[in-house]
């Protein structure tokens, strides 16, 4: 998983094994200025990062990004 992550630009992440052989946990630390309006729109950095992590998981586990 860590080697796939390094294909992505400019994000430092920590990797650890999840308990019970459930895969890999990823922790990304993020510094940002809170912006309530961006948050309402779902465009604040934590939301965007969560989406990015989710797409990364999709890519690693299924080979593709889910698209409707």
């Amino acid at each position: 998983v860590a080697s796939r992550w390094n294909e992505l630009p400019e994000r430092e992440a920590r990797f650890s094994a999840a308990p019970g052989d459930q895969g890999t946990e990823i922790v990304v630390e993020l510094e940002y200025t809170p912006d309530p309006i961006a948050k309402l729109r779902g465009e604040d950095p934590p939301t965007k990062l969560a989406d990015e992590l989710r797409r990364f998981k999709q890519l690693v586990e299924t080979g593709e990004v889910a698209r409707a």
Partner: protein
């Protein structure tokens, strides 16, 4: 291509939409030969599920012929006849590997929306709002099926569409409703709702060995259908309280397990109906949960309440005290269809289950607007509509 589109509350139209195309390598395109309207489509039609957009293609019960496959789909080829499960599942995440297919972690592109409402997301679902992915549905001439190497089940010749179509949702949903009850040989199982899911839940409870199955509804023609298959019935408009009636029918104990096959638009003959209906219309609560409240109150001490009727958000007057103090177990979920496809197909092939008895209407896809009204208003003895593109 033609498709049934949601155009706002109480409005569907058959419109021309762009032809679905392969987007990902694990996709397939299916030419649809049969598709059905689900009771849960009525929740969309009636406007109770948020995040629907005008023009969304409806439908999550469908089957047909594979016409094209993506590069990674090696188990299917053009010409194969398939039934498609309504949840989209990757087959490799934690949820899928635990047989919790409707909770696949990788198929809902709008997982962030679902997380806001529900805490965590579910799998993507065909034609079921943007909360569950915004995927185009199967009430259409063609559909794009993602994760086609995992979901669709191939059907051999010799079985008619209507014998296998309901593997897509309602047959396994009814089965799971009964299975979650952990039925023992002396058990009495009560089922709220004699619609298609309730009928299949009752039938499944009998196949799983229940001593008695009691079905509750208000439409005599639906109750008759359940009686013809060996269930006892209660018309709730003709009795003084369903929990009390069930008590009388079970020596005061109550049913060992209660299945809610109604969901968020229940009806109820009493003033509480007006209370919930008004709050729901004003969007102050999203569900009318009469069936669920009754199922909890009626269940015997230590029994199981199994919920397969669909709920979307929040409910008032939830009898948590009854649930807690009487050691009830609640089991629920959107059906993990993939888990049940093969065993239920085997039961259909063996002649143990004939799901065709629920079909009352067969209409061309073009007549979808009329079909939705027939089904919603329970006109013309309507139990289940199959649309033919």
């Amino acid at each position: 291509v033609k498709a049934v589109c949601w155009m706002g509350r109480n409005s569907v139209e058959v419109a021309d939409v762009p032809e679905p195309r392969i987007v990902n390598d694990r996709d397939a395109i299916v030419r649809i030969t049969s598709t059905a309207i689900c009771g849960s489509d009525l929740h969309l039609y009636d406007g109770y599920v948020p995040t629907m957009k005008r023009g969304d293609v409806l439908g999550h019960e469908f089957m047909g012929e594979v016409v094209e496959v993506g590069k990674s789909v090696r188990n299917l080829e053009p010409g194969d006849r398939v039934v498609v499960p309504f949840p989209i599942a990757c087959g490799s995440c934690n949820a899928c590997s635990r047989d919790l297919w409707s909770l696949c972690e990788n198929t809902n592109p709008n997982a962030h929306l679902a997380e806001k409402l529900w805490g965590h997301s579910t799998a993507g679902i065909f034609g079921y709002s943007h909360l569950t992915g915004g995927y185009a549905g199967g009430q259409a001439e063609y559909a794009r099926v993602p994760m086609a190497d995992v979901g669709p089940i191939r059907i051999e010749e010799g079985l008619a569409d209507e014998q296998v179509l309901f593997l897509s949702d309602i047959l396994p949903t009814g089965w799971m409703g009964a299975e979650m009850c952990d039925i023992g040989p002396d058990d009495v199982v009560a089922v709220w709702g004699a619609g298609p899911v309730g009928q299949f839940a009752a039938l499944s409870a009998m196949l799983l060995g229940a001593a008695r199955v009691i079905v509750i509804d208000r439409f005599e023609y639906r109750l008759r259908l359940a009686r013809e298959r060996g269930a006892e019935t209660v018309n709730y408009e003709e009795v003084d309280g369903v929990p009390e009636t069930l008590k009388e029918l079970t020596g005061g104990r109550g049913p060992d397990a209660c299945i809610d096959a109604v969901g968020l638009e229940a009806h109820f003959p009493g003033p509480l109906y007006a209370y919930d209906r008004v709050k729901q219309a004003a969007r102050l609560e999203s569900e009318r949960a009469f069936a669920l409240r009754e199922a909890i109150m009626a269940c015997r001490n230590g029994g199981v309440v199994s919920i397969v009727g669909v709920y979307g958000g929040l409910v008032d007057k939830f009898p948590i005290g009854s649930l807690m103090n009487r050691s009830l177990t609640v089991r629920t979920g959107q059906c993990h269809v993939h888990k049940y496809l093969r065993p239920l197909l085997a039961r259909i092939q063996a002649g143990e289950i004939d799901p065709t008895f629920i079909v009352t209407h067969r209409l061309p896809l073009e007549e979808a607007p009329r079909a939705y009204e027939l089904f919603k208003q329970k006109r013309d003895g309507c139990v289940k509509v199959v649309l033919k593109p």
